[in-house]
Subunit: 531 residues, 2 copies
């Protein structure tokens, strides 16, 4: 209590609806939101994924070569090296036919001249993932304007179809940008149940296809709980109308869940119905220091009970993560005076009553300081302070990219054991690398990042498969929220038993017998090649 | 405001953890929790569902005949007539073999003598559903004690496997009684995210298999959001270990959702991992009167904003429902003085802070009265009052059964249109029936009940298919939370398009090619008979 009294940093601010504005970091928390769509081509001649590479080292060089070849000089320099695997180069499925001028004419007939894109620069953008690590070889980009026209890029399908102010149920097309939906709902007194750093560019169809997690999951749960309905186009062109707008519907198997998180490999999401929570405007953010990981855990448990219904985020980072963001990101400062803090926790509360929320959070912080769970802390005084606290946590991916090469892992682990992995990796790698940890502690989601001056195969060999094996041993997930994509398709067995993966394969075969939807992704190559 | 001051019924009570005790009504809100398991028989000789009937009229008589035949005199009298359909008698699948003494010896070898039940009385209980409307013809009841031994009755598989106090994640066997889990969690400071009238008898495996909704859905969402993992035994005996204990896991298709709500027809749930919310002990209950349905809707919207994070139930009933419960259930009284109220709303709040929750609810009620949204109301003063308020709402199914025959419908509808159906039915049926409406307004779930002195075919013909057609036209669900079972299997097309149902059929065929799991249920007979 005395300590608490002495620190004068716990100032209260009048939270004025900064919920939707507090973050504008362009770095995506999830790399695949926009690339989640594969393609359904009624003539079975896919235009995509000709020779994607999953060996990143190879990819890195060959991509630079290609960039030179194609004469595009503005190529992004690859400072960072992502979460890698030793998977071999993908061979194009020989059953796939190749694009010819007849196909192009056909598509122009369906979509109109201007929605069939062959411009090299636009193709390069569409073929490249957000981290600039992978590059497809598609020669054509199709932009449908309606479900009937679908395939591939749904960015022109960006209409809000309906919103019910009583139930809070929103129905929209898949190409709606998440941030636009957030802005629209704000005028209606509602919010989206998910929020991401990448909201400015990611589309709701991609969010659903990748089962995006993000910053509100601890409060509002996953998309499996919030998505009420989907319209999906299957590989054979069939349109599945599962676009229910009901909170409860027990009529048969709830097939929409197959498409949530299947990364576009079972069908293309074209419309989404989603339950949105009412907007509660009393938001407070505290930035706290803890002396050890055990204190962070205890703080979480206490917060769940004592903050209860107003807790909306519980994020953590360790001191190496803090150093990194302070050293590499401009305009970021530690709100707490320099000291030997081992861990930092960001707590956000959201409620319907400003005075009460403030009072409750303050009482909780006093209690936590009295109990020795936190050693210092600051309570945002205004929206700018709150944004600056969030910037520390959200600036981490960018800071890591600026620091050099980075090996990234997105793991779910039992909260109790989570940080043991970080400590083991530090011992294992010694001076050769900086092991940085942060993540959504409230969800048990660790973002483990290993930063080195430059990429080295021998460092990768020390990390993998060790990290995957460790995660598997502790019944964790090797991909908490980012999905498997191409890179981790073969690593699925670390998190799923063989017979479960085989059942996934059967379902893939039933829905997409020719394997034309987002090929080579999600399922292990052994399964996809056999089809 | 003046009105409010005059009514002295808004008394505050110190809510002393009555959350888990407030209801003990034995009438289940969901009829199929315990009957959700079909059977997987590795020798392909099912013991169940020989000749279940979906024509209730036939069923009603034939069941009485059988009861006489078997000499069991304590048979329950069938006062009520349930939600009916004109579906014809089910023919036993001729591919199924019949039970012989060799089978019985085999099962005794596997499960032990005492877990192979042939006792007539125990078989009668197991063959009869909770409403005593359907009766199976199984000659044998098997009670496995472990996943390896499964199938059919999992009541002996009732162990809690683990509970993580930091994350709130519970792992248990499928046979655990919901109420026992609630009691266990109470000692740990957590609650189950679902609660039902039938908690004293329903098992968690059945809750999951039927995607039980219940009373906490408005606050904590559906089981698709809360169930983190399942262990499932397939028709071929294969055990699928999807028993993750992680909030986030994006490694491949999330297949557990196929089994949530599939009524045991795709596999048998043997273990469940579920996220449990922290227990918040400040519970308040108000019982309110509204002059019309529009006011109920407006009250809901206001409650979502003004009560926000503490709103935990929003139930409604109309004046005919109130009359019915007052006339047929002993010990129930209207907490509001007799007056011409058209609608009643029960609001429950749950929060972490007693004083604040009370204050907030009172302020909201004052506001609602001032705005003319409610015409009268009472705030429970103690746990007994709160229980008596809940008893009105939860006593309705029992009161309906006592009142005579009843045609029951469990519908999801857009909240805006919901009550139009009730009014249309009253016009349609005139004096011949009493149309009673109540339900989970916060979830858009209407329990439409049509009460008559005795069952009549011509009344059924006026109700069906009209109710289903009306629901379909408004994109509602003909089964919000009760499932399709045998009775509504053929009605699935009212809520799902043909190609979606056919895809369900493909999945059924892939997982259970011989159709031995809970046969004749969920999917339309046209699909199941073709397999």
């Amino acid at each position: 209590m005395q300590n608490w009294g002495r620190t004068r940093r716990f100032l209260i601010y009048p939270a004025v609806n900064f919920l939707n504005n507090r973050r504008s970091n362009p770095i995506a928390a999830n790399p695949v939101f926009n690339s989640a769509f594969g393609l359904a081509n009624h003539r079975d001649s896919p235009l995509y994924s000709e020779s994607e590479k999953s060996n990143l080292h190879t990819c890195f060089h060959s991509l630079r070569d290609k960039v030179v070849e194609t004469g595009i000089r503005s190529a992004i320099r690859f400072q960072h090296r992502g979460f890698g695997s030793d998977a071999t180069k993908i061979q194009r499925n020989p059953l796939f036919s190749t694009l010819n001028s007849e196909d192009i004419s056909y598509f122009k007939g369906v979509l109109g001249e201007k929605n069939v894109i062959q411009d090299e620069e636009r193709l390069l953008t569409a073929n490249t993932d957000w981290m600039h690590k992978y590059r497809g070889s598609s020669k054509l980009l199709l932009q449908p304007r309606s479900t009937e026209e679908v395939v591939i890029n749904v960015s022109l399908m960006n209409n809000i179809i309906s919103f019910d102010k009583v139930s809070g149920i929103l129905v929209c097309e898949a190409g709606c940008i998440l941030e636009n939906l957030i802005t629209f709902l704000d005028t209606q007194g509602y919010i989206m149940p998910l929020d991401l750093g990448a909201k400015g560019s990611s589309q709701i169809g991609g969010n659903v296809s990748t089962n995006a997690g993000g910053l509100r999951l601890v409060r509002y749960g996953s998309l499996h709980g919030n998505v009420l309905g989907l319209e999906v186009v299957l590989a054979n062109g069939d349109v599945l109308d599962m676009l229910g707008t009901l909170r409860k519907d027990n009529t048969g198997y709830d097939l929409k869940h197959l498409f949530i998180g299947s990364e576009g490999s079972l069908g293309i999401v074209t419309k989404v119905s989603i339950l949105t929570p009412p907007k509660l405007s009393a938001v407070n953010v505290a930035f706290l220091a803890c002396k050890d990981y055990f204190s962070c855990q205890k703080l979480l448990v206490e917060a769940k009970w004592k903050l209860g219904e107003i807790l909306s985020a519980f994020e953590f980072l360790d001191n190496l993560a803090m150093d990194l963001v302070l050293n590499h990101l401009e305009g970021v400062r530690n709100p707490l005076p320099p000291s030997l803090h081992s861990f930092y926790v960001l707590i956000e509360t959201t409620g319907s009553d400003e005075a009460y929320s403030k009072e409750k959070l303050e009482a909780f912080l006093l209690h936590a300081m009295g109990a020795g769970l936190i050693t210092d802390g600051a309570l945002a005084q205004d929206i700018n302070q709150a944004s600056s606290f969030w910037l520390i946590r959200e600036g981490l991916p960018e800071a890591l990219m600026k620091a050099g090469a980075v090996y990234k892992y997105d793991l779910s682990l039992p909260i109790e054991n989570m940080y043991n992995l970080v400590e083991e990796m530090r011992i294992r790698l010694g001076e050769s690398a900086t092991v940085v940890a942060y993540g959504h502690l409230g969800d048990g989601n660790l973002h483990l990042n290993i930063s080195t001056p430059q990429y080295e195969d021998k460092i990768l060999a020390q990390i993998e498969p060790y990290v995957y094996e460790w995660t598997s041993k502790h019944r964790g997930s090797i991909s908490a929220e980012h999905g498997l994509g191409l890179m981790k398709a073969n690593e699925i067995f670390y998190s799923k038993p063989t017979n479960v993966v085989h059942l996934m394969g059967s379902i893939k075969k039933a829905l997409d017998p020719k394997g034309i939807l987002n090929p080579y992704k999600v399922l292990p190559h052994s399964l996809s090649s056999s089809s």
